[in-house]
């Protein structure tokens, strides 16, 4: 299990390649990468991500452990950034390796659903007209009910 909470950018290509390498009995590798999406009017200057040091790593490890106990997985990786990010920057990624594709996909979706609303991160949008905290979406909470 590889977990990192960091301010620095990560190299998706290198991480995906290293994660996929050497999993001789894992037939399926899934990655999800979250990108700071510009607003529809292209006026997003930055996304500021606050987190709760200490609890963040703990919460992510708990979610990853739950995924590993629920699906047949060979490995799990979670990287989540904090700090000030600009549109187009990669915020976070998860990767799963499993013997079969169904486990790899489901575990990755489970990780994402739980990271969205159970890992202590908060996003604030900065635009030329001001700043505003991103509200949690009811559908993100609803997404947990399928697991």
């Amino acid at each position: 299990m590889q977990i990192s909470v960091q301010k620095e950018p990560f190299d998706l290509g290198q991480i995906a390649q290293e994660f996929a390498a050497g999993h001789r009995h894992m037939g399926a590798i899934v990655t999800f990468t979250g990108v700071v999406r510009d607003s529809d009017t292209d006026d997003l200057d930055a996304m500021e991500i606050e987190h709760y040091p200490g609890m963040t790593e703990r919460a992510i490890a708990k979610i990853a452990t739950q995924a590993a106990s629920r699906w047949d997985l060979g490995d799990v990786l979670v990287i989540h950034r904090f700090g000030r990010l600009t549109p187009g920057e990669q915020i976070m990624m998860v990767a799963t390796a499993a013997p079969h594709r169904k486990d790899a996909f489901e575990a990755a979706e489970y990780l994402m659903d739980y990271l969205k609303s159970r890992a202590p991160f908060w996003k604030k949008e900065v635009t030329s007209s001001g700043t505003s905290w991103v509200d949690a979406k009811p559908e993100d909470e609803d997404a947990l009910s399928r697991w």
């Binding site: 200490g54 609890m55 703990r58 990271l115 609303s117 159970r118 202590p120 991160f121 905290w133």
Partner: protein
């Protein structure tokens, strides 16, 4: 002595990221009521409790009736928006 941590708009409304306080509260709900009674900025932060999430010693709790016994760190924050 207990350490209180505030994040996101809870932090902004209260005006500080953390503080140490003395409290007689035995549950999270009692602690919130103490804070609300203290100053308007707390009352503002806790005006809509449905938007408040709480972690005790870095574990999320489901229910404000949770006991504070043995707890060293209480964090208050809005619903999380990770991912």
């Amino acid at each position: 002595m207990i350490e209180l941590l505030y994040f996101a708009w809870v932090r902004e409304r209260i005006g500080l990221p953390k503080e140490h306080i003395e409290t007689q509260a035995s549950t999270v709900a009692e602690l919130i009521n103490e804070l609300i009674a203290k100053e308007d900025r707390y009352a503002l932060a806790f005006s809509d409790l449905s938007a408040i999430r709480v972690a005790l010693d870095q574990d999320l709790i489901d229910d404000f009736t949770a006991s504070l016994e043995g707890v060293r760190e209480v964090a208050f924050f809005p619903p999380m928006t990770g991912g």
